[in-house]
């Protein structure tokens, strides 16, 4: 497996949607290629960091204000 072939399957490997056979081939490539190993590990970490950190929080006072505005208009029937 070449690096390009590995890269084409990177997402499937991260999302775990590959067959056991392909996963094995990808693992063999990873063991031999430090470049792809870094790409794989850090891409997976990138996703994990974005998933676990709220970067656009909705402050409680703003949430209340927007919520009330929405419900008031719904109740009035616009």
């Amino acid at each position: 497996m070449t690096c390009k072939e590995f890269l084409a399957l990177l997402d499937d490997m991260i999302d775990d949607t590959v067959t056991a056979e392909t996963r094995n081939e990808l693992r063999v490539h990873l063991e031999r290629c430090p470049h792809c190993k870094v790409t794989f590990d850090t891409t997976r970490k990138t996703i994990e960091i974005y998933r676990s950190h709220e970067i656009f929080e909705l402050p409680e006072d703003l949430r209340e204000r927007l919520h009330s505005a929405i419900m008031t208009r719904c109740m009035k029937g616009f």
Binding site: K4, L7, H35, V38, T42, M71
Partner: protein
């Protein structure tokens, strides 16, 4: 017995659908529960797309009002949340277009970057690199980094990886094909990774000799 349980399980209604039916029957308070459940998610998506607080507030309000008005059109073929997210994405894109008058914003525009190119920045990251920053610093880094991504990549990444929609749901929401979503997701993930490397790299840098194999 197990088969009966499976059948009954399949027939069980999603709680959102029950709420939608109540709203259709005139129970406005049932809509209150739906708004409460999804307002944070809708705001987050709107903020990611518009990159502007004021626009995100407007897009969020309009998305919920539009969903309320159009509730009769909700077929139940897809999940209520996917249907709502689609409305929120459209409202947000509309705000973005208004703000950038003259410059078209299209989710299906062709993004010209080399497909499948092997990443060049190969600095490995230190273990748990996010721990080198406090919460506010980290949030700022993550915001700045994702805001630099091309629109088409950013929105796919947000829906698929941050909001957890499936590839098919993301494609349906954005009116894109599944292969287009997959291609954007890969390129978006790789670009984000490369941009974050500026902040997260450790001491080990792999020297690349003449590109990937």
């Amino acid at each position: 017995m197990a088969i009966i349980e499976q059948v009954v399980g399949k027939l069980e209604q999603h709680p959102d659908v029950a709420l939608v039916e109540k709203v259709r029957d005139g129970d406005v308070l049932a809509y209150d529960a739906l708004v409460r459940k999804y307002e944070r998610q809708v705001f987050r998506i709107a903020q990611h797309i518009t990159q502007n607080r004021e626009d995100a507030e407007d897009a969020m309000q309009d998305a919920f009002l539009k969903a309320y008005q159009k509730l009769d059109q909700f077929q139940g073929n897809s999940k209520f949340s996917t249907w709502l997210v689609r409305i929120a994405v459209n409202e947000s894109l509309m705000r973005l277009r208004k703000r950038r008058t003259g410059k078209m914003v299209s989710i299906d525009e062709d993004i010209t970057t080399e497909e499948g190119s092997v990443p060049r920045d190969l600095a490995d990251w230190s273990p748990n690199p996010e721990q080198n920053y406090n919460q506010a610093e980290l949030a700022e880094i993550l915001r700045k980094t994702i805001q630099g991504l091309p629109e088409g990549f950013r929105i796919v990444f947000v829906l698929r990886d941050v909001e957890g929609l499936s590839t098919e749901e993301t494609a349906e929401t954005l009116g894109l094909s599944v292969p287009a979503v997959k291609s954007r997701l890969l390129r978006g993930r790789l670009q984000l990774r490369e941009r974050l490397s500026r902040y997260f790299h450790g001491k080990n840098v792999l020297r690349e000799a003449g590109g990937g194999k």
